[in-house]
């Protein structure tokens, strides 16, 4: 099992957030309404957490191919918000002494973790 996942990167501008809201039909004002978001405790627009989660799936696919996606158990926490014009990268490293469990993450351009968790590759017949 490859020790380091091939990373996947995405630049999150406001248009991308609006496009994501359109495809998911999630128009929570914290994601799409700049005035509302500015008045909220977040102090401005944040991207949908699941928007960045997609990068972990891409990193797994980039490394092992699409077939492996049928055998993944993914467990993550959203730990920090993603802001407009952040560039986020998803990746991961195989845990020490493991041949099936990756510590996975998404980090922004400042190396701040925004998502972290694990991805376990299940046996092919499991």
């Amino acid at each position: 099992m490859q020790k380091r996942l091939n990373p996947a990167t995405n630049h999150v501008d406001f248009d991308a957030i609006l496009n994501y809201a359109d495809v998911t039909q999630d128009y929570n004002p914290i994601h799409v309404d700049k005035e509302f978001a500015a008045r909220s405790p977040m102090g401005g627009i944040i991207a949908h957490g699941t928007m960045s989660l997609a990068l972990i799936w891409q990193a797994l696919k980039n490394t092992h191919g699409a077939d492996i996606l049928d055998r993944v158990n993914l467990d993550i926490r959203f730990v920090s918000p993603v802001r407009i014009d952040d560039t986020v990268t998803g990746g991961g490293e195989l845990q020490l002494d493991s041949d099936s469990v990756y510590d996975v993450w998404v980090k922004n351009q400042n190396d701040q973790t925004v998502i972290k968790g694990t991805a376990t590759i299940k046996a092919a017949n499991g």
Partner: protein, 133 residues
């Protein structure tokens, strides 16, 4: 629950099935997804990131309207087979747990997504929500 009633912490009942949603993985939706993620271009295969979209949409359909200020704190997925473009999916929504930790109210909503045609289990998910007051 009436349409006006807000779905609060008290409405989460561990073990309760709240309903199911149907979603067809159509070319139009996949094209929209690929406008955000051009790399998700495997022929015939639903982009994996759409699992979250399907799960969250089903939960928000059956456990809503929610008070503003809630947080999507965590998410898990157990994949069995990635859906294919053209396939119709059924997603059940169930509450599996809730708890108060350090004064914060957490709810755990499980989704179970199957193929409408075959009944085959495709993936399950658990959404962890910090419930707003």
């Amino acid at each position: 629950m009436s349409e006006e009633a807000v779905f609060t912490y008290d409405h989460y009942e561990p073990g309760k099935l709240y309903g199911s949603s149907e979603f067809t993985v159509d070319e139009k939706t996949v094209a929209k997804w690929r406008s955000v993620y051009p790399a998700d271009n495997d022929p015939g295969l639903m982009p994996a990131g759409m699992t979250a979209m399907i799960s969250v949409d089903a939960i928000l359909t059956h456990q809503s309207p929610r008070p503003s200020g809630g947080v999507h704190g965590g998410q898990s997925f157990d994949m069995h087979r990635m859906p294919r473009i053209g396939e119709t999916l059924i997603t059940e929504v169930r509450c599996i747990n809730k708890e108060i930790r350090k004064g914060r109210k957490w709810a755990y909503s499980q989704t179970r997504t199957t193929s409408k045609d075959t009944g085959e289990l495709l993936f399950t998910g658990i959404m962890t929500s910090l419930v707003a007051e």
